[in-house]
């Protein structure tokens, strides 16, 4: 008990003294996950909007694929990206393995299906409502997609937050492709895993506190957005 209490004390101290080592890790985490989310949103929103507003052969199959990929185990994604980027792999020449870029790639693969599926879900009802109006105006596919995305902008913000939440808390994939190298690819989750196994609980706890805070903040923001959306959209 005493040991854990002490660890907590040091952890709080680290957080509130703005420890440089700690914040380098936090900063890298944010950088990697934010970049991954932005890329995943560009891909996922495009995919979701296309699937919601267009009818083409193979559409159902793609939706099933996306839903299946949503449940992909992170370590498997990590392994796949590892194989692709390793020296003997097809993209080995780029020597991306054990760089933040490799972690971004892994996270993009992990969260794009999630973002696309959630995006599709929020655009589907909207499309059902707008469809005849769109067709009576003879809108082009790209106009349809743009309009749907814009009119669902608030719920898409919560989709992005959900993607970010998954990215920042993920450990399996980034551990494999990033390698948790100090000052290079060490991010919050991998650091927690490592420090815990080494028995350095204080740093792990400090990072844990920050992760929890981020998660609470994300959920609070999502709730705020939802209530604003309700007020604005009246539906």
């Amino acid at each position: 008990m005493g040991e854990i209490g002490q660890a907590f004390a040091i952890a709080f101290d680290l957080v509130f003294s703005l420890d440089r080592n700690l914040f380098a890790i936090v900063l890298l985490s944010l950088k990697v996950s934010l970049t991954a989310v932005i890329i995943a949103c560009i891909l996922g929103f495009g995919l979701g909007a296309g699937l919601a507003s267009l009818r083409f052969p193979g559409r159902k199959a793609i939706i099933i694929m996306i839903n299946a990929l949503m449940g992909l185990p992170p370590v498997v994604v990590g392994l796949l990206v590892y194989l692709l980027l390793s020296r003997s792999g097809p993209f080995g020449v780029l020597s991306l393995l054990y760089t933040p870029m490799a972690m971004i790639i892994a996270q993009v693969i992990l969260i794009t299906p999630l973002v696309a599926a959630l995006c599709l879900q929020s655009l589907q009802d909207l499309h059902y409502e707008y469809d005849e109006f769109f067709r009576s105006l003879n809108l082009s596919p790209s106009s349809k997609m743009k309009t749907l995305l814009w009119d669902a902008r608030l719920s898409l913000l919560t989709v992005a937050l959900a993607g970010f939440g998954r990215a920042i808390s993920e450990v399996g994939a980034v551990m494999i492709v990033g390698g948790n190298i100090n000052h290079v690819t060490r991010i919050m989750t991998t650091a927690i895993a490592l420090e815990t196994s080494k028995g350095t609980l204080a740093l792990a706890l400090a990072l844990g506190i920050i992760l929890i805070t981020i998660s609470v903040a994300i959920n609070a923001a999502a709730m705020l957005i939802r209530s604003t959306a309700k007020r604005y959209a009246h539906a």
């Binding site: 409502e129 707008y130 005849e132 009576s136 003879n138 106009s143 669902a152 959209a233 009246h234 539906a235």
Partner: protein, 259 residues
């Protein structure tokens, strides 16, 4: 584009030559899930007057409007017309020929102003023109002071007026309305009728579905009585109200259940 929304001097008729070819139905049938919803309709619509469609609930009036605008395809038969005649064709994307106002207005989750601006933007309307036309349309619908309100929090009557203003802002050759005054108070009804009449004076063909017999008498040049997917009567309004010809139409006018 022929796009003067500005009112012509009272009494004059502009654009007496319509920009779209007339709609003609040739033995049109529509079957959904084995049900014959539209049953062998042969009919043609002129391109200038105000046609009012009446008939009991479930008669197929809304389906007729959807068929006219090509939103649904007939199971058999053909529908011609409703397409842009070369005269009105602007460069690039063809402008909207027939605008449809749905029974339940479909409004974007945006401000009142943006709902109107949206269709103009899709027509590749220039910025200055867009602002001018949008404001004018808001004024005609008496929604100037609602411009920045989210469209979906407008009252039912205001929403209908907005949907109508949005349909008219592109200066369509034809305007198809599905019970646009069904739940409106007399003042809003008056505004809507005024907007429709004004559009008609400017050369827009009107096809109007209503359950309000007095409104039909006020507005109609010709009447189409629909029952169970068939057109039972198509007559000039005055002649129709004098002698509806069909027993079912007479019963409908008398407010009895059609037998």
């Amino acid at each position: 584009m022929l796009d003067q929304i500005n009112e012509p001097p009272a009494g004059t008729i502009k654009n007496t030559i319509s920009r779209c070819s007339p709609i003609v139905f040739k033995s049109v049938c529509l079957e959904i899930d084995g049900q014959l919803l539209i049953n062998n309709i042969n009919c043609s619509f002129d391109t200038l007057g105000k046609t009012v469609i009446i008939g009991p609930n479930g008669a197929g009036k809304s389906l007729l409007l959807r068929l006219m605008t090509g939103l649904i395809k007939p199971t058999s038969g053909s529908i011609s017309g409703g397409v842009q005649s070369s005269q009105g064709q602007s460069e690039g994307k063809p402008s909207v020929c027939y605008s449809l106002v749905f029974q339940n207005p479909v409004l974007l989750r945006r401000s009142t102003y943006e709902n109107i601006a949206f269709v103009l933007r899709e027509q590749k309307c220039g910025k200055e023109e867009l602002v001018k036309k949008t404001n004018l349309a808001l004024k005609l619908a008496r929604l100037e002071d609602r411009a920045q309100t989210p469209a979906r929090s407008l009252s039912g009557g205001e929403q209908q007026r907005l949907a109508l203003a949005r349909a008219l802002v592109v200066n369509p050759a034809g305007l198809l309305l599905d019970e646009p005054t069904a739940s409106l108070d007399p003042a809003s009804t008056f505004i809507v009728e005024e907007m429709v009449n004004k559009a008609n004076r400017n050369g827009t063909k009107i096809i109007f579905v209503t359950h309000d017999i007095r409104q039909a008498k006020r507005m109609a040049d010709d009447i189409l009585f629909v029952n169970e997917g068939r057109i039972l009567v198509h007559k000039p309004a005055r002649a129709f109200f004098k002698d509806p010809e069909s027993k079912k139409a007479q019963a409908y006018l008398d407010g009895r259940l059609p037998l």
